[in-house]
Symmetry: C2
Subunit: 451 residues, 2 copies
């Protein structure tokens, strides 16, 4: 692979120019901005490296860019997305979000890390591999969607209509994990699921003067009492039956947890809190972060919330809750348990409005795709990667992984701990970018040769 | 008194013109609009009927218009206010709020009922009395403030500085009660007190991604748990010790309650609720409305409350509570009980931010001023007035009544059940206005002659 590595180094400027070109094209899913234009650009890039590529439409969604190339015993699905987060607030950018700019070894621009950087680096690795080693030693199927940043609302529909394209693949490469605060390469084997929902309660037909409070039901109190039954003062979720679906991490995953560096002092200082919930420390805190389901009040609203006092008895109340779901806790199950829990306590008047839901997803560290991801990291970065058996966050991994029986791993991506994804001044280190291209080449070689 | 009544009838057009003139002058305390101009107009009206009147300043407040006239064994304080509610929303008025207009037997305009109508009608009654019967048979002290609609924030200060002006008076006439839905005259002997406050809780130093929820304290949950200890699911206030200060109404007040008409079906229909809290009906509902203290969530806010989902762990949470206070429950007591209640349960992190507070006030139905108010109503309206021993609402009556040892009663005012005070198209019936002038004349005569 020496020639491969040398080729990547020699083409650094051209590779960065390609990335800058794609990042110059806005593609904001939340604003339906530039998505078809970007899909066309990605399609051309796929075709340029020899893939048999096309756009696949699902009603109401921007196109999925799908492509296939190579052959071998192993089939790899590469998942990335060509859409990005909105660039706002614009006045906090030091250079234009859609005019990528290199400053002192970093490239700044919306999407340079999340996730156009990962996407482009992987195509460039294939170009370099073909130019130096020869034909790809495995079959690669590209799956690039344009709605990840708004929760991939059409992904399940796509899989229902086109899932057979991916069936039988041996592994799924999922975006890319960022290097951690100390520069260690990281990768992850799963994501929590999520069920986001609103609870809504109605009272009188309109807001009325609060002097009527002795006689008129107050929906805000109803909401408080209902919420109080969902989680106790020790932060334990008390929804009937929910914790029955939560297991301790298996031994092998506990071993992975022990190796995860966790700068807890720094985190607490950064968030301005004296201690974590329940006083958790060290591996207990890591375990809790990755393996505890959550029931979070993300927002609550009722009545008058402005300055000063208004003596009003509100006619409605609303809370936004997100449940983060560990393996075995499915979104539909949570909705069902919650409805029964509330009804059992006389809260039939509390409406549940389901919003986005995503299944949890997790793959085994023993899957060939995971082992190849780890070995490639050792080769390219010269150290063991930090392997997260789960991430605290969520994503649509399940639909392309568990649902199709394909083990998944993130791989090491182009980002770092301060890449500021979803924020102004998103950036990557140029050196990380080049390493990520090399990583993809070694990963493909190792995965193709895996047992 | 026949000549008095005839004089009032004969001067109807002029009296209405005087009221329209005062209502043409905006005087919105919340917007600091036109208050000194209005105080000057009221001062002139007092001087025109022969009162020894002047403006009294308290730092930071619009002037109190104070006046004295007449002499006799009895001294009556007349409390009204010359400020009005804001006229907004303007587009819902059928005529200009500050260009009073007569249409089909009604006068429309901001303040025609609350409270310029009451104020002017009382001065006109004195003019008529002097023009027909002769010198006033009692001493009258006028106290007209300009901040009632924003909670009379300087009233206590005024009493501290100038209370001796009123000391020793035998009775206080407080604004005026509106006729009820069936046209019955009403009056009231007291008002609930109120303590409005905010509870605030802080968490992390900024809003953070909700994937951190297993480790980072959520102030919204803290607020929910704290609130849950304040009131139970049967709507009983559970603040330690608070209900110890709540007594059953005395027998004589229960007798008054029995005579209060209460169109409960109509009220429930109007508010769109199937039943009152606890299924209360009839006299139980009336008793609850007037004699139950309340703890009402008037507003609650935290985190993201817009459309759709945002996975955020909020850094702060706030609720606005109003406690309505029955006799013996003082604002300071409620604040003290609440702080101790929260501390005892480990909620030292829940801050209490006191906002406006008003003491409850109540006078005896046997006070001469109350008996005169009832007898005058029988004479003028030809039927027993509905006597409310308390009102469900609040007001600054205490400072001028209990605090100075002066029994108070509302008297019958110029308004009716659909006068739409505080709302667009505020109005009074012209015939009610003339009756209210006559009522004031008979009331003064009876009170002057009382034992």
């Amino acid at each position: 692979m020496d020639r491969f590595h040398a080729y990547v180094d020699a083409n650094e400027d051209r590779f960065l120019a390609q990335l800058k070109n794609l990042c110059s094209q806005p593609s904001v899913a939340a604003q339906k901005l530039g998505l078809t234009e970007t899909a066309d650009m990605v399609l051309e890039m796929l075709q340029a490296i020899g893939a048999d590529a096309r756009l696949i439409q699902v009603a109401g969604a921007p196109p999925v860019v799908y492509g296939e190339m190579g052959s071998g015993d192993r089939t790899l699905v590469v998942y990335d997305h060509y859409d990005v987060q909105p660039p706002e607030p614009l006045d906090q950018w030091e250079s234009e979000p859609f005019s990528p700019e290199i400053r002192q070894g970093f490239l700044y621009g919306r999407g340079v890390s999340d996730n156009k950087g990962d996407l482009v680096s992987r195509l460039q690795a294939i170009e370099a591999y073909q130019a130096t080693v020869g034909e790809l030693p495995l079959k690669v199927k590209f799956f690039f969607e344009g709605e990840e940043e708004i929760g991939s609302p059409h992904l399940a529909q796509f899989v229902a209509e086109n899932g057979e394209l991916l069936l039988g693949a041996d592994g799924l490469l999922w975006e890319g994990a960022a290097k951690d605060m100390c520069g260690r390469p990281a990768l992850y084997l799963g994501l929590k699921g999520i069920q986001y929902l609103e609870l809504r309660v109605k009272g009188a037909s309109r807001d009325i003067h609060s002097s009527w409070a002795p006689l008129i039901p107050n929906p805000v109190w109803r909401l408080v009492w209902a919420l109080n039954t969902l989680k106790d003062e020790r932060d334990r979720i008390t929804v009937d039956g929910l914790m029955d679906h939560v297991a301790e991490p298996p031994m092998e995953e506990m071993e992975l947890l022990k190796k995860i560096p966790f700068e807890e002092e720094q985190i607490r200082k950064d968030f301005g809190i004296p201690q974590f919930l329940g006083g958790a420390e060290g591996i207990d805190a890591v375990k809790r972060l990755l393996y505890a389901p959550t029931c979070t009040i993300c927002g609550i609203w009722a009545g008058y919330t402005g300055e000063g006092s208004k003596t009003v008895l509100p006619s409605e109340a609303m809370v936004k809750l997100d449940f983060r779901l560990v393996p075995d806790l499915e979104p539909e199950l949570v909705l069902d348990l919650l409805r029964k829990h509330l009804d059992r306590r006389g809260f039939e008047d509390v409406d549940i409005v389901p919003m986005s839901g995503e299944h949890p997803a997790q793959s085994s560290p023993d899957a060939p795709v995971a082992r190849a991801a780890v070995e490639a990291a050792k080769l390219v970065y010269g150290r063991d990667p930090v392997v997260y058996p789960l991430m605290a966050g969520s994503g649509p991994m399940y639909e392309l992984s568990q649902a199709l029986g394909i083990p998944a791993v993130s791989g090491v991506g182009v980002g770092h701990a301060k890449s500021r994804i979803h924020a102004p001044n998103e950036n990557i280190r140029l050196s990380d970018y080049i390493q990520a291209i090399k990583y993809m080449g070694e990963f493909m070689r190792l995965f193709a040769a895996s047992d």
